[in-house]
Amino acid sequence: MSGTSDLSRWTRFKRSNLVYDFFHNKVAMVSLVIFAVFVLSTVFAPLIAPFDPYDPLQINIMNSELPPSWQDGSDPQFVLGTDDQGRDLLSAMLYGTRISLIIGICAVALQAVLGISIGLIAGYIGGRTDSILMRIADIQLSFSTLMVAIIVLAVAKAIFGSQSFNEYALFMLVLVIGIAEWPQYARTVRATVLAEKKKEYVDAAKVLGFGPMRIMLRHILPNSVSPIFVISTVQVANAIISEASLSFLGLGMPVSQPSLGSLIASGQAYIFSGSWWITAIPGFFLVLLVLVINLLGDWLRDVLNPKLYKG
């Protein structure tokens, strides 16, 4: 029986508004293709990348600052040139995008777990619980993410020392970006919960004797996924930018495991000596990645907003 119901779910999905709209929207299609290329190339980075940027033996300082292959003085081995330490920029970027995406997605997952549970509780229980939780969210929001992150990361770096901080940098970044941004989710979820809990199916669920946990998780939450979906895409893009900014400031990923942000940072000193590609190429791909995620988010918001297609 589960087989047939899975099949019907798949056919249902294929016939849904979402899929129909997707195939009639060029921007969404192009964005998804680019995003898929990003994801696939980072997942298979070890297979695609010509060099392993984490292996010091493959790095030769004599190859430093070689320009991309279409410029004079380039080495055909290094398609996009090399950075200041002689690392192949293409390989470093493939691995770097991987780190950026991992941090972006994990941080957003953490934000979502925190924000959704707090938003659900605040919206459903209401009253004093709601006021307290939302005031905490307001306070959290009034500190900018970067400011919180800079303080926390700088303190962590001072306490743990540079060496061990570098080991846990990925983890720390996920934690800091995740915690700094949960109010975005909490506010959105709370607003939808407030609207949903007035609907009669919630009364009906209460009348059927369901407990508050079940009503929140099984009844209200699934009816609130559209805004959660939309906000998630925006938040992934934001988290990637935050990570890049922090790495650029030297509080993120160490130079030995560069993310897109730390690559941009490492090239910054060489822009005026003519080696523009170390900063510009990762910068371009960072912009492209964030742009396609945002475009996908915009498209999702349009499709999932019933006012826009029913009206």
Binding site: Y201, G211, R218, P222
Partner: protein
Amino acid sequence: MSLLSVRDLVVKFAMRHQTLTALDNISFELARGERLGIVGESGAGKSITGFAILNLLSKPGFIAGGKIMFDGKDMAALSNEEMRLIRGDRIAMIFQDPMVTLNPVLTIGEQMIETLQAHRKISRADAAQIAIVKLREVYIPAPEERLSQYPHELSGGMRQRIIIAIALLLDPQLIIADEPTTALDVTIQADIMELLLELCQNNKVSLILITHDLGVVSQMTERTLVMYAGKIIESGRTREIVNDPQHPYTQGLINALPQQTLPGHKLKQIPGNMPGLGALPTGCAFHPRCDFATETCKKTMPEFINFGDVKVACHEVARLHQINKTAEQPDD
């Protein structure tokens, strides 16, 4: 002993500047297997009575007094958890609009199985079997297929049948149906009512039918309460109330039925609107709209007294009864 006994129930709403009384000393009894109709205009307090019985008044409403006994237990003495176990299991409720009472993102099967599993230790497969049996009882064609469908794939009448099936899932002793057919097509209304009546009779379930439709009440119920502005103004056996209403408001309701008017004539409506709870008139709340109101009606609240076979809250009931009698005599 009666299944449900409501004594002097008072429900208030704590608003910012004042506390409004939504239900004022409501008392009634409901025997096992009995069907009771609660009739009144919008805002008379019919639905609030239903929610108060289940202790599900939403803020700012609260029960300010009175006693609700269900199956020998005082509802006020139950813990939240005990109350939760009664809801759905012993007392089920059917709402007005079937378009919005089913959860839009869960399949019919999931909603039915979930309901069973919330109250009984039962496997999914067994629960699904019970669900199919109940769907068949409410004459849903191909019940096995319905289980994997979502509410939006079904028509309004079909959904209300499913809601009735969900209400019956746990074999409750009492069903509170709050205007169960108001949102449906007229042709389907009669079907649903007939189904509800049949199921209540077959399963010996008590029914509280909340409606503004006296026609429905006369077909469905044995006893009737007529409510106005938070009070019961007339109660008794449905037959007596429909055939020989004593309170001028009940008379007005019956005269307003389209059947009472010849084609091409204007419907006989009761002039005016029901007063808001914040602006109740002194004395009898109905007096501004009543053709028979006297000075006493404007000043003092009428008692709820026995009059013949019914109980009625009206100062002028004896005089009215006389007027009606003389009006009817020439027909003999």
